[in-house]
């Protein structure tokens, strides 16, 4: 395997060039691209004959053309050949704004970035992490500032990372199969909404605000924690009976739990019933979502690499052996399950405040399939895998949106292929080493 890797690196200089770039160079390159788009994007897009800036690196534009071809084949509107020109225009746009400037930047500053990171590698991790995350946030901020669509896609993608990670604790690290995650999300979403809407907002369903306070957004962390705690409190209902036995028991109990939660929110008229709750204050801005998700990833990563996480893996691999090695299996499983439910609740609270509307129908079996797809696509037992799975499935979902219903053929097919060729997901069982991720890349 190692020989193969070095061989391919020798034969492919481009691959060698890119693998020698540290994270910092990628982020700075992204910053250059985003800044270029902000300054020249609209002018260039108009010059290329596009009506507006391609929102998702031209993928969307391409699929829009494909969709209109399919539509005309199925007897819809007549396909205009001039639409085909959109594809090369979008390609040239992406090339001019992102690919070429970033490549140029890598060529000029790649080595400098590497030595900068090497110089910083003796500093505490918090310094390097803060630097990287600040640049990452600026890229996100500038890129998402171009359109509201990008902003909401980015926010939902970040939330998807948190949900996927929290499910990966249970399905990957603990090796059980939990189906109740949309239920926990619903509990968190309603809990956080009750906190924010009930206390601070004049609402039709929940009545007049209890407190009038201009700085009420400062309580948003409390709202999220409240939602998370409610989710993990209800998770106890599943956890107490189902960790007596192993096997598929949790899958079934949690499925019944999901139906119960959904039916509960559909029937409680005091919380809007099937019409749902709306009027959440606009507290979940991009920085807030970014901070919460980064904190979540950081805490979950610390959890799974801690003694408790190792114990969890031991329980997954062999429960009796783990017990013989003095692991308190029941306590370990309970803690991990409640922890996963807590973060799912926090993600649900964020979700409710990003959309500023929740209804029970959002948290059904469809959502379950989506979250499971993210976990199993990215890879079990791996923080990297969760991040990659969540990002790729949400980006794919948005990119294939113009295809309409054919999207629901493409994504499942892709997932089936991944399952057949890599049954545990693309990046399963990888360690998530922040220090080496932000560290310098050695020249081969």
């Amino acid at each position: 395997m190692e020989d193969n890797m070095t061989l391919s690196r020798k034969t492919r200089p481009i691959w060698r060039f890119f693998s020698g770039l540290p994270m910092l160079a990628w982020l700075l390159g992204g910053l250059v691209g985003a800044l270029l788009e902000q300054t020249f994007g609209l002018t260039l897009a108009n010059a290329m004959g596009l009506s507006k800036i391609p929102v998702l690196f031209g993928i969307n534009t391409t699929f829009k053309v494909v969709a209109s071809i399919i539509d005309s084949l199925r007897g819809g509107d007549v396909f205009l050949a001039s639409e085909l020109l959109d594809i090369p225009s979008a390609l040239i746009y992406v090339l001019c704004i992102f690919v070429l400037p970033m490549g140029l930047f890598f060529k000029v500053a790649g080595k400098a970035c590497n030595s900068l990171v090497r110089a910083m590698s003796h500093m505490p991790l918090i310094v390097t992490a803060t630097l990287h995350l600040t640049i990452m946030f600026s890229v996100f901020h500038i890129w998402a500032g171009m359109s509201d669509y990008r902003l909401i896609t980015l926010k939902l993608m970040l939330i998807a990372i948190l949900i996927t990670l929290s499910l990966n604790i249970i399905n990957g690290y603990m090796g059980e199969f939990s189906c109740s995650h949309p239920g926990f999300m619903a509990l968190g979403a309603y809990g956080a909404s009750l906190f924010s809407v009930g206390l601070f907002v004049d609402d039709k369903v929940l009545g007049a605000p209890v407190f009038e306070w201009a700085q009420a957004y400062l309580t948003f962390p409390l709202a999220l924690i409240f939602g998370g705690l409610i989710a993990s409190l209800w998770a106890l209902i599943i956890a107490i009976p189902s960790f007596k036995t192993r096997g598929d028991y949790l899958a079934i109990i949690s499925l019944a739990f999901l139906f119960i939660v959904k039916s509960f929110f559909e029937n409680v008229q005091a919380m809007g019933g099937p019409r749902g709750l709306s009027g959440q204050p606009d507290w979940a801005t991009l920085p807030v979502v970014f901070l919460v998700v980064i904190a979540g990833v950081w805490i979950i990563n610390n959890f799974v690499t801690s003694t408790m996480g190792k114990a969890l893996n031991a329980v997954r691999d062999d429960e009796s052996a783990a017990e013989a090695m003095t692991v308190d299996t029941r306590k370990t499983k309970m803690t991990a399950f409640l922890f996963g439910a807590f973060w799912a609740g926090v993600a649900g609270g964020l979700f409710a405040h990003v959309l500023r509307y929740v209804n029970p129908a959002m948290f059904g079996v469809q959502k379950l399939a989506e979250v499971l797809a993210m976990v199993y696509f990215g890879g079990l037992n791996s923080v990297t895998g969760s991040i990659i799975g969540a990002v790729s499935i949400s980006v794919l979902g948005e990119a294939l949106r113009p295809l309409g219903i054919f999207k629901w053929i493409c994504i499942p097919l892709l997932l089936i292929l991944v399952m057949i060729y890599r049954p545990t997901g693309l990046f399963a069982f990888r360690d998530f080493n922040i220090r080496s991720m932000f560290g310098p890349r050695e020249e081969k």
């Binding site: 199969f177 009976p241 119960i260 499942p412 997932l415 057949i420």
Partner: protein, 321 residues
């Protein structure tokens, strides 16, 4: 509230129970052999209903309708059920071949994911080919209502219950009496050793999927007769409920799946009069749409006290994972 009202609900419960039981059988049989749940089964039920619609339409076109018909309605119905069961079993075999056989040695959760995804593909496929509007299932037999001492029973309800019970009995005979049935029982007993004795694993697994799908198709047609509106997402709700019934009966138990299917139908239908009684007695105002919540809570409580279902057996702490 009277005794006739109770019996009326009992008749409805029997009808719903037979749908659930027929679908739950498919889940349970696959579980008993491969130790995994076929999450695409609910959508196979839906596909079965659509295949039944197609077969019924083409048969009607072939023999003519109304007074000029060559065959009476019940004969067309029997033919429809048999032909659609045969055709749908190939859908089941196809699902096994594509989604489950390549993952035989993979973690079981991965196979669950492929099952879910195949289900989504089947739903979307129907949406693409037939459009989003709901289709009407042709009424093959005249509906007559009998009044049995205040309890109204239609001939369709009687037929549905009779057909499903006879299918269950036929399955029971197949599993107990034939050589293939014996192979299935042996495979359920020991998945690892029995193939070494010369029993072809792939054939038996495919056959199990086929039989389960055929039963689901029968359930789909019977459902189409009782509630003649088909939509592509009907498999989702039905499938998950039948899945819960299969669990309640005990994983891998055919008898359990039948009993629990009828029990689930019974619970679901009986919760509504129960709510009415409670409302009257305690002067409360509970909505009858709390049905799902109460039904699943009852199931949850049953499962807490009987973790392996009604007829299931406890197994060792570790299965193939």
């Amino acid at each position: 509230m009277s005794i006739t009202f109770l019996f009326q609900n009992l008749v409805n419960a029997l009808q719903w129970g037979s749908f659930y039981a027929l679908i739950a059988l498919g889940y349970s049989m696959v579980y008993s052999i491969l130790m995994l749940f076929n999450f695409a089964h609910g959508d196979i039920f839906m596909i079965g209903a659509y295949i039944g619609l197609g077969v019924a339409m083409s048969l009607l076109a072939l023999v003519g309708t109304g007074a000029a018909a060559i065959l009476p309605g019940w004969a067309i119905l029997v033919l429809t059920i048999l032909i659609s069961m045969f055709l749908t079993s190939f859908v089941g075999v196809f699902v096994e071949r594509v989604g489950y056989r390549p993952l035989r040695n993979a973690p079981r959760a991965s196979a669950a994911i492929t099952g879910l995804m195949i289900g989504i593909i089947l739903e979307t496929g129907i949406l693409i080919f037939l459009g989003a509007e709901r289709l009407k299932f042709p009424q093959l037999i005249e509906s007559t209502t009998y009044n049995l001492g205040g309890v109204f029973v239609t001939n369709k309800k009687i037929m549905i219950v009779l057909v499903s019970i006879s299918l269950m009995l036929a399955l029971h005979q197949f599993v107990k009496r034939t050589k293939y049935g014996m192979a299935m029982r042996a495979m359920a007993f020991d998945f690892a050793v029995v193939p070494l004795m010369g029993v072809p694993l792939n054939t038996i697994a495919a056959m199990t999927f086929g039989i389960g799908s055929a039963l689901a198709a029968a359930a789909g047609i019977l459902f189409g007769l009782a509630y003649p509106v088909l939509d592509p997402y009907m498999g989702v709700t039905f499938g998950w409920k039948a899945f819960v019934a299969a669990i309640l009966g005990g994983r891998g138990s055919i008898m359990g799946a039948c009993v629990a299917g009828f029990m689930l139908g019974f619970i679901e239908v009986m919760v509504v009069p129960l709510i009415m009684v409670v409302n009257k007695l305690f002067d409360m105002n509970i909505g009858s749409n709390l049905r799902d919540l109460i039904a699943y809570s009852i199931i949850l409580v049953i499962l807490i006290y009987r973790p392996h279902g009604l007829f299931g057996e406890s197994y060792s702490s570790k299965l193939r994972l």
